[in-house]
């Protein structure tokens, strides 16, 4: 696994040398959308919290970055760790309230918070109200440098989304998360603090989605509340994760590939394309609730990112 990670790392590092700027932009988009999906996958498949409002953190991350960068004239790339902290803090602040609700009520409550934040920003002139904010600082910078740095950040997020998640899932905290997801009562019985474990997962997913959101909107130089807090982000994340397979590292990779291929083929069909995304989610739930990757694992037993360890005493 370490070798695979190293190979991916090197491949990503040299990519900008061979790729034109237009393709670089597309790759930034693919990597950030993958990171969004992976943050939701982590939340739903590893922490066991299903949210319909992950766009909250995408928008928040973008706004935290744009507002701070514009106000102090700081290079936005240095602000990304701060965005992680701020989004994590926001998640930590709402967690005590939303954790009182379960399942669908939890899912909807985050969505409601996303709507509240969107409406608040839409009415604040200092935050650009409905027309949004431009990113000032990168205007005076070299375009190529901005695009390449942006690519490295997006690639780093995608890298973390794959190998970081795998690493985390095998750590002590990852096992604790899995235990809490599978059975709260049993997890508590073996000495895991259910509330704090879940809290950790929620904050981490929020911070990660925030950084990904900031990266995405940094690459388009403009953010507006209608787009950043758009529930259609949720549709996209859901589609990618469900089609690929919830709770696997590989699933969202396949899901992202299918999503971008579909988008390329069906661009211009508008609603039909969204309908297809929804229908695909319904069919997947009925036919193979583990997603496409679930079928592969079941049939071929191929699971490179297996977080389960082989049983020590095989029969």
């Amino acid at each position: 696994m370490a070798i695979a990670a190293a190979v991916c790392f090197v491949a990503l590092a040299v990519t900008p040398m061979f790729v034109s700027q237009g393709n670089l932009r597309l790759m930034i988009e693919i990597f950030t959308v993958f990171a969004f999906a992976q943050s939701w996958n982590f939340l739903a498949g590893y922490v066991g919290l299903m949210s319909f409002g992950q766009q909250l953190f995408i928008g928040l991350g973008a706004y935290f970055l744009f507002v701070t960068s514009n106000a102090y004239g700081i290079n936005p790339f240095w602000l990304l760790p701060l965005v992680f902290v701020l989004c994590g803090l926001f998640a930590a602040a709402v967690a005590p309230f939303v954790f009182r609700l379960r399942d669908a009520y939890f899912a909807i409550s985050i969505w409601v918070i996303a709507e509240i934040v969107r409406l608040y920003i839409s009415q604040k002139d200092s935050l650009g109200s409905v027309s949004g904010l431009p990113l000032m600082v990168t205007r005076d910078m070299d375009r190529t440098v901005v695009a390449v740095s942006n690519f490295y950040v997006a690639a780093g997020l995608a890298f973390l989304g794959v190998f970081g998640l795998y690493w985390l899932a095998r750590r002590r905290i990852g096992l604790a998360l899995a235990a809490v997801r599978d059975n709260e009562g049993t997890a508590a019985a073996v000495g895991i603090n259910v509330w704090w474990t879940r809290f950790f997962g929620f904050v981490l997913a929020g911070g990660f989605a925030g950084v990904a959101g900031a990266t995405y909107y940094m690459s388009v130089f403009h953010v507006e509340p209608g787009g950043a807090f758009d529930p259609n982000w949720m549709v996209v994340m859901l589609f990618i994760v469900i089609i690929g397979g919830v709770g696997t590292v590989e699933g969202p990779i396949i899901g992202t590939a299918i999503y971008f291929l579909l988008r390329a083929w069906l661009s211009g069909t508008g609603n039909l394309y969204l309908m297809l995304l929804g229908a695909a989610a319904v069919v997947t739930m009925l036919v193979a609730s583990k997603g496409l990757w679930g079928i592969v694992t079941k049939r071929y037993g191929f699971e490179p990112f297996a977080t389960r360890r082989p049983s020590p005493n095989k029969p």
Partner: protein, 254 residues
């Protein structure tokens, strides 16, 4: 005086909001199924009403009867064909399934009916009003509240006295034990989902008569339903009816 009138209008709207929440709460109470597509079904019912009301005899408001029957049928189909297949201890598949369904429904309605704002025309009744304790109240909102209360009372009476109502209550308590007594709980679930959608459909049509709707209204309707259920409590029917008006004081959503 103006705030008294506001409170009165809040109560009138509250009856309707209660009806929206009732469908969701009923489905959850009986089956532990959270139908995330409920809001979009409400809007779909409004569209069915929009196309049926010119053919409705006597008065356009009676269109709620055929729409409720259609929604009942759709509910049974929905439960049998889709939701019954993903039932289980885990709620996530049901929620994702209905979420996917909601996306399909919403975008389907946009492409068929367009994104324009629509309303069901009930003729002059919209403008009728009467004076009550010095307040001016509309006939239509009062009628809507009366229909909502009647549906609540009828549902409660039916659940408490009829054989089917007893079976539904027993299934809600423990769907495994009723199987021992010869009840196929999946059929009961189908009927319960039919009732849930019929109630929501009535609410959707009445809401479309009082105000306007677009194919995108489903998300707002769903939020109202959730707020109703969360504030009113899931277990009790009367809880929703009592607490509902507290929410209706907030600005109306279209």
């Amino acid at each position: 005086m103006i705030w008294l009138e506001t409170i009165a209008n809040g109560i009138l709207l509250g009856g309707l909001y209660a009806l929206i929440g009732l469908g969701l709460g009923f489905a959850f109470g009986v089956m532990r199924v959270v139908n995330v597509a409920q809001g979009d079904f409400i809007v779909a019912a409004a569209f069915i009403g929009l196309y049926l009301y010119p053919w409705t005899p006597l008065h356009p408001i009676l269109v709620i009867v055929p729409v409720a029957l259609i929604a009942f049928g759709i509910g049974i189909l929905l439960q049998r064909v889709l939701i019954n297949r993903v039932l289980g201890h885990d709620q996530i598949p049901q929620i994702l399934l209905t979420f996917g369904l909601a996306i399909v429904l919403r975008n389907g309605m946009v492409s068929w009916f367009g994104a324009n704002s629509q309303s069901i025309n009930v003729g002059n009744m919209r403008f009728w009003g009467f004076d009550f304790l010095g307040m001016r109240l509309g006939v239509l909102p009062v009628l809507v509240l009366v229909i909502a209360i009647m549906l609540f009372a009828a549902l409660r009476f039916w659940l408490n006295t009829s054989r089917m109502g007893r079976i539904i209550r027993a299934t809600a308590d423990d769907h495994q034990v009723v199987q021992l007594l010869g009840v196929n709980y999946r059929n009961v679930y189908a009927i319960a989902m039919g009732i849930a959608l019929a109630l929501s459909a009535v609410a959707g049509v009445l809401l479309a008569m009082r105000g306007s709707f677009t194919p995108y209204s489903g998300a707002d309707r769903l939020r109202i339903a959730f707020e109703v259920v969360v504030i009113g409590g899931l277990k009790t029917l009367s809880g929703e009816m009592i607490f509902r008006p507290t929410l209706a004081g907030t600005p109306p959503r279209t």
